[in-house]
Subunit: 316 residues, 2 copies
DNA sequence: AACTATATAGAACATATGTAAAAAAGGAGG
DNA sequence: CCTCCTTTTTTACATATGTTCTATATAGTT
């Protein structure tokens, strides 16, 4: 316990230092002591909570969540977007914007970049500013998905993003899912396809979405998965996918019948990319994200407050 | 005004620096920028009051005053803020900070909280840190006061505080003072209004300001009381008010013509709330506070040294 | 597309702060 | 009154921070 005398002195020093902006040297001179005494007094005042430093901003909460996510899952970066009572659509847009911002700040040195597919990434690309950074090539990470909703296909997103960056893009002229494993094999032997996939596996940055195939899934929406398929996936223990590659609770690849038909990079390959940025919105995806994190596929996560909270809660 | 991204980044840096004790160098490395950027960010954060340094200035003198106030008026707690030669504005801010600090340390178990109106409470709310304590609801204790100075209205303060606590709030969609007692009756019969007032009367904690209607009164400033009104109040022996409820020297409610027009909780109801925290600054309010204490409306008092001294002197 | 104006980041320097070890001061026991 | 021990202060050094000036990037304009 400090004496009142000492307390008074600490308060005085703290005031001169923090409120009046004096240097420790000046304070020392005024009080006729050496500078280290002032330095130590200030430390003591902090220890005894005579000086308290508050960080006061609405973003404090989400920034704390970010830090916890980074520590807990060994992420390079996490960006948590506040939901503040907004509808899922608005939140999704905010997440996309935050993703676009993050990307634009971190794309500097990248020469090659890959992009997956989906509605979240589509929104991200649309939000991306035109900034004419030459010398970048964007690669699609999977093939196309038929004629519906072309604007969310990997190829299309690669093209749009390249346009905004002033760079170029490659196309993967193949379906994301071949009709048979045999057809896939044949397509994979084609140079145009093979070369692009090889390159896609060696990008500096990959931008991916994540999905939960069972809830509000775009794959189901566009007719790629029917109830039977879903039942099959469920039986195999699938909890999520990234670019048609399904994984289980622990993030291990699940060898479904789809797996042999998919034309796109594998989970293994994805894991080897230095910087994989996952962009996710919607609480129903929490379980899928958790599994992907366990599988170590993701280095950077851009997500909404709600998923962030659930991830941390689930992994207590 | 700073963008969301920038504020987020400043908060992140401030957190690492002030809470986690990282050096600027370490932070710079982590974020991939040069050290001066961090130095400048911290300066910016200080300028924008994202970082606030609070010096808890308690001396023998103020602690003694607190103890005496507690004993003499049977208070649960008293917090006396030293004036140390500061201007009234600075003192008011210190009182508001102390109030915010006290509240944040004592709000833990509260599920429902009420808040009155006024410039002191506004400052308190602005000083309150964002801390995301879910499961609390804030209720306004009175209606609104016209179009002027909306930021000090009970409704607005309830909203702002709820935002900082991560909780929810109710609104009282009614004027603080109806044009006639007849209109008041009709409004009071409306479910939306009635229900909120009912709830407001059962909060765990109420945060109130006190005023002296005759000196530097905000009520007069915003045109709610004119000279005639004041004369009338004087004749009735009014020495202060809390939330438009006027009381006399002994703290007894005064049945002025206003009383029947006010939409807000009554002094009786206020007295029944377990923990009523009064936050007051400015010597001219000493008499009003004394009366309120006599009326037993207040359990905790946060005030400046000067009022504290006068209260004790007056009640020797 | 080229230019200018404006902002921003980084390198290098200047200053301020933190800390270990030596010196001095204070205090207790002989 | 001295000696030894403890505590505090100071000196000198190591680090960390703030600042200026230059280089670079960005935005706006013709």
């Amino acid at each position: 316990m400090l004496s009142w005398e000492e307390r008074r002195s600490l308060v005085k020093i703290a005031n001169l230092y923090y409120n009046d902006g004096w240097t420790q040297e000046q304070i020392a001179k005024k009080l006729g002591v050496s500078r280290p005494v002032i330095s130590k007094s200030l430390q003591k005042a902090r220890e005894h909570k005579i000086i308290e430093i508050f960080i006061k901003d609405e973003t404090v909460h989400t920034v704390n969540l970010e830090k916890k996510l980074e520590e807990h899952f060994g992420l390079e970066d996490a960006v948590v977007v506040p939901i503040s009572g907004q509808t899922p659509d608005v939140v999704k847009l905010s997440v996309a914007q935050a993703g676009a911002y993050y990307l634009s700040k971190n794309i500097k040195k990248a020469k090659k970049m890959g992009i997956s597919w989906g509605t979240t990434l589509e929104a991200l690309v649309q939000e991306y500013p035109y900034e004419m950074k030459k010398n970048i090539t964007i690669f699609p990470l999977e093939g196309g998905l038929g004629r519906k909703k072309v604007e969310i296909h990997s190829n299309q997103l690669a093209y749009e993003l390249a346009k905004r960056l002033g760079g170029t893009c490659s196309y993967l002229y193949a379906p994301a899912m071949a009709e048979s494993s045999e057809l896939r094999e044949r397509l994979m032997k084609m140079d145009d396809i093979n070369a692009v996939l090889q390159e896609a596996a060696t990008v500096d940055i990959a931008l991916v979405g994540l999905s939960n195939p069972y809830v509000q899934s775009t794959l189901e929406d566009i007719g790629y998965l029917n109830q039977n398929d879903l039942e099959q996936l469920r039986q195999l223990g699938v909890v999520g996918d990234m670019g048609f590659r399904f994984f289980d609770l622990n993030g291990n690849p699940v060898n479904s019948s789809f797996n042999k038909k998919v034309i796109g990079i594998s989970l293994e390959q994805l894991r080897n990319i230095k910087k994989v940025i996952g962009v996710v919105s919607g609480a129903h995806k929490a379980e899928s994200v958790l599994a992907a994190l366990k599988g170590n596929y993701i280095n950077v996560l851009v997500l909404d407050e709600q998923i962030a909270t659930e991830l941390l809660y689930a992994s207590e």
